[in-house]
């Protein structure tokens, strides 16, 4: 924790930001810098690790310690950083290609092991840096340079994959909604363990407008719902709509209609360890419901880096030997005289 009060400027490096004008990455960068200020972490206690992609250029624009690694390996490298030095605040910056295509394995394992990383997944559903091929999150049928007749693959839903990999934290936001992004990021940082924050990001060059339905000012209030732990699930431009359970299915209701009051709505419980309802909420936009934004799941569990430290401490408590030579001498030996 910092004693000095840092500002956003303290988290900016003097490297020119090279994203395309209008790219959604800018807002995410700012939200990240603001989050760090809000969290009171210090630039020198912070490591920002990325793979390769437009999004993965982000560490260069931060004044913290940073490592722009190789494509897809951010999770693995960040795991090494965090296990080596658990006192660092470690952020992994990644794109949908970097994280879910080539980096998929390291990602699911970092999530499963619950390494205390803040994983910011900038999802533009396209490969930006290589100039426009489809990614594992590109919607089926989308025409790109590598799918001139449309893709034929069902995309991953990052929330679903995260939960499938035993994820204990998942949040979702949209580039244009900086306050929610910041809220997700700061909550993620406070969570011990792998915290995945998906930010829907607009690539103005190769997939412009694909998030419009949820990101456009005009439709956003109706098409999204921001979940907050302990709060009722309400949405709509007039905040008159809400979610309820109907058997094991969700339903959208209007407050005031059919005798439904706010009290009848579901209250979001992000810390419930059973991931059943989180799963449902995270996926509901596939079934015509609004898209869940905010922190959907936030469950405490021992983090991998803590467990590494704990186990070492435990063994050390039992075994007094601290030097190799003493260890060797304590084993099966004989003397030549």
């Amino acid at each position: 924790m910092s004693t000095k009060q840092y500002t956003v400027a303290d988290f900016k490096s003097d490297t020119k930001v090279t994203w395309c004008p209008g790219c959604g990455d800018f807002a995410i960068l700012t939200a990240l810098q603001k989050s760090m200020v809000e969290l009171g972490i210090e630039p020198h206690e912070t490591a920002v690790i990325s793979g390769i992609g437009c999004s993965s250029r982000l560490p260069y624009f931060m004044s913290t310690y940073g490592f722009h690694t190789i494509h897809g390996r951010g999770s693995a490298i960040a795991t090494g950083v965090k296990v080596a030095n658990p006192r660092l605040s470690v952020w992994q910056i990644t794109g949908d290609g970097d994280c879910l295509a080539i980096g998929g394995n390291h990602f699911i394992h970092a999530v499963r092991r619950n390494v205390n990383l803040n994983i910011i997944l900038m999802n533009n559903r396209i490969y930006g840096l290589t100039k426009g091929q489809f990614s594992p999150t590109t919607e089926k049928g989308f025409v790109t340079k590598s799918s001139p007749f449309g893709t034929i693959e069902e995309p991953f839903e990052p929330a679903e994959l995260t939960l499938g990999a035993r994820g204990q934290f998942f949040a979702r936001s949209i580039d244009v909604d900086m306050p929610t992004t910041q809220e997700c990021m700061t909550t993620a940082a406070k969570h011990e363990g792998a915290a995945v924050v998906e930010v829907l990001q607009n690539c103005v060059i190769f997939a412009d407008g694909i998030h419009d339905e949820v990101s456009e000012r005009t439709t956003r209030a109706e098409k999204t719902i921001i979940l907050r732990h302990g709060e009722k699930m309400i949405f709509g431009a007039n905040r008159d709509k809400g979610l309820m359970l109907d058997g094991i299915k969700l339903k959208v209701v209007t407050i005031g209609e059919n005798g439904i009051s706010e009290n009848d709505l579901l209250t979001h419980d992000a810390v419930e360890s059973d991931n059943f309802l989180h799963y449902k909420l995270a996926m509901m936009h596939h079934q015509g419901f609004p898209m869940a934004l905010g922190v959907i799941r936030n469950v405490e569990a021992a983090s991998y880096d803590q467990e590494v430290e704990r186990q070492i401490a435990e063994v050390q408590a039992k075994k007094p030997i601290r030097k190799l030579q003493d260890y060797l001498l304590s084993g099966e030996t004989w003397e030549v005289i």
């Binding site: 490096s13 490297t15 210090e42 630039p43 020198h44 206690e45 912070t46 490591a47 690790i49 390769i52 560490p59 260069y60 931060m62 004044s63 913290t64 310690y65 940073g66 490592f67 722009h68 690694t69 190789i70 390996r73 693995a76 490298i77 960040a78 795991t79 090494g80 950083v81 965090k82 296990v83 080596a84 030095n85 006192r87 660092l88 394995n105 390291h106 394992h109 590494v308 186990q311 070492i312 063994v315 050390q316 039992k318 075994k319 007094p320 030997i321 601290r322 030097k323 190799l324 030579q325 260890y327 060797l328 001498l329 084993g331 099966e332 030996t333 004989w334 003397e335 030549v336 005289i337």
Partner: protein, 616 residues
């Protein structure tokens, strides 16, 4: 009770214990080796596990062997066995080819029934004739029934009783080599310290074996093995190459005053490095099993970035997977030790067999001009030193170092004088200091060594960004500038070349003025050195040199090689080091002796080949 009729003195002797996987041959092999060492012998061991999952009892696939050479000037486990313990027909068959014609073969005659012979695919009931090893001296002994009888009152069940058969064999071998049982008992006491009843039973059987020899085989000559006169005073333990590698890394971490991190993924024959390091949590070692080899090297790179001594261990196919990430370490000039325990290739190849065929992969298996340091250990014990040296170079020169060992030295063991680790050289990574903070840049370099300084995350004022893109010569900012790329390429190259200043010069053994220089590298040292020595003993003129440092080469390499008319590079591959030497040291006459059988060299074939080469 040892009434010795004939006692022959031997300089060295090769003993092979062989039986079913469940017969405990590794254990008695180890005990015999270690007790021999306590008696002043040098030892070199080589275990020979079955490659397969546990095959059915008594079958050829299930045979587990342990070979040890004991004596003076022992550098290899030996070509062929002088004494074979064969607990069943499968063991006999598996080892028939590696017996001296007049060796002694100890068998458990109870396990040579028709059924047992059939399990081992014998067609007749005379296995010795079938295998054409009729000249051997057979010591046939009903081990199973004697052990059963001996322990009939022990209270143990049949299965447990039979587990002591190996001790009978050990006792018999002790008798054969005039080893007092007192020297064996401390090892049993340690092993069974928590099970006194088992200990007692084993000691009893051990005595039985010894007495059986003394009483019934008085006609056979027994042997006395010469002690080494070269053994330094000190406290010793037995260590194999993989453990030695692990210990070398721990020692380096201590001398660098850094925590040790290992990122690894299991793969034969390298897994024991992970196993060994995973044990030492009390020494603060963080040994992480990752989801794959790429994650293993990457987590190590991350740990290195964070300021640990970081290593990753693997074998050939794993090294192939790590190439891209090693390139990142080259580009970001981050210290990293990559241990590659070579095995038979290509592809999955012969996972349990030894080979030296990853050399060129280690040198070149990355995109771009991507120079890294490559070193190779020459023996099980040398794994300790070379792992230490690899870490020292990595940390002090800010570079990945690939350490090549191989299945042969990784699994082989010797007696090791436990070193005084505090007296080993200190390792001094180029960490940033407060004084240089002002205007510091991530890639500013020591002008002499070309090494950049190292700022661990966590220190205020040294925040910086690095990455795999080409970067500006000092600032580390991304740079696509043409001249800068040339400069950086040259710098990366020269930085590694300058490591040569920190490594020992090449030395010549034998006759400096010979026509023929035999050249080896890595784990073949024991065989090559012994073969050359044998020729020297015979009065032949031959010289030998051995490479532990491959890139960069010792700085006198060209000078040394140019003195010889014929240079014979011997290696367990199709000629990788030979080709490399030709490429970097033009104008010398390089001949090759290569063997790619998954097996170490044999002394005899080397002596043959050198003789022919001298005569040619």
């Amino acid at each position: 009770m040892t009434v010795q009729h004939k006692v022959t003195e031997l300089e060295q002797v090769v003993i092979r214990f062989s039986g079913d996987s469940g017969d405990g041959m590794q254990l008695v092999g180890n005990i015999f080796s270690n007790l021999s060492a306590t008696l002043g012998n040098e030892i070199s061991t080589f275990p020979d596990y079955p490659a397969e999952m546990r095959a059915p009892q008594g079958t050829l696939n299930g045979v587990s062997g342990f070979q040890v050479q004991v004596g003076k000037s022992v550098l290899t486990p030996g070509d062929r066995a002088d004494v074979l313990v064969a607990m069943n027909p499968a063991a006999l068959k598996t080892n028939a080819k590696s017996l001296h014609p007049r060796s002694i073969v100890i068998i458990d005659e109870d396990s040579f029934t028709d059924r047992d012979l059939k399990k081992a695919d014998f067609l007749t009931d005379n296995p010795f004739e079938e295998l054409k090893i009729t000249q051997v001296q057979v010591v046939s002994c009903p081990i199973t029934s004697l052990v059963k009888n001996s322990l009939v009152d022990s209270g143990f069940d049949g299965k447990t009783i039979l587990r002591s058969k190996n001790m009978f064999a050990l006792g018999l071998v002790c008798w054969l080599f005039n080893r007092p049982l007192d020297s064996a008992i401390p090892f049993l006491e340690k092993k069974f310290s928590k099970k006194p009843a088992v200990l007692a039973a084993n000691v009893k059987v051990l005595n039985d074996g010894f007495n059986f020899g003394a009483n019934t085989h008085a006609s056979i000559s027994t042997y006395r093995i010469e002690s080494s006169n070269e053994q330094e005073k000190g406290i010793y333990c037995d260590v194999n190459g993989n453990s030695a590698t692990a210990f070398g890394l721990i020692a380096a971490a201590e001398r660098a005053n850094l925590p040790l991190f290992l990122g690894s993924y299991p793969i034969t024959p390298a897994t024991d490095v992970l196993h060994e390091l995973a044990k030492h949590k009390n020494l603060g070692v963080k040994a992480i099993q990752c989801e794959d080899e790429i994650a293993a090297v990457c987590s190590a790179i991350g740990a290195s970035f964070a300021g640990h001594l970081a290593a990753t261990s693997t074998s050939g196919p794993g090294l192939a997977l790590k190439g891209e990430a090693i390139g990142l370490a080259v580009m970001t000039e981050i210290p990293l030790v990559v241990v590659d325990v070579q095995r038979g290739g290509p592809s999955t190849g012969l996972p349990t067999k030894t080979e030296q065929s990853d050399l060129l992969q280690a040198l070149y298996g990355r995109n771009g001009d991507s120079p890294a340091v490559v070193v190779a250990a020459k023996s099980p014990l040398d794994c300790f030193d070379m792992a230490f040296n690899a870490a020292k170079i990595a940390l002090e020169h800010m570079t990945p170092v690939i350490l090549l060992t191989d299945g042969f030295i990784a699994n082989g063991s010797s007696a090791w004088k436990i070193p005084n680790i505090d007296a080993m050289p200190a390792i001094k990574p180029p960490f940033v200091t407060e004084e240089i903070k002002e205007g510091w840049k991530a890639y500013q370099r020591n002008e002499e060594t070309l090494v950049r300084s190292w700022a661990k995350p966590g220190i205020p004022g040294f925040e910086h960004r690095i990455g795999g893109l080409e970067k500006h010569y000092t600032t580390s900012a991304i740079s696509m500038d043409a001249a800068n790329h040339q400069k950086m390429t040259n710098t990366r190259y020269n930085k590694i070349a300058k490591v040569a200043l920190d490594i020992p010069l090449l030395e010549i053994e034998g006759d400096e003025n010979a026509e023929l220089l035999v050249v080896g590298w890595g784990g073949t040292f024991g065989h090559l050195h012994s073969a050359v020595n044998q020729l020297l003993d015979e009065g032949k003129s031959v010289a030998y040199t051995h490479f532990q440092y491959i890139n960069p080469l010792p700085s006198n390499t060209a000078e040394v090689l140019k003195k010889y008319k014929k240079i014979l590079v011997c290696e367990l591959n199709t000629g990788q080091f030979a080709g490399y030497l030709r490429g970097v040291i033009p104008g010398v006459n390089i001949l090759q002796y290569n063997k790619v059988e998954g097996q170490p060299f044999m002394l005899s074939e080397l002596v043959d080949c050198f003789t022919k080469t001298m005569e040619a």
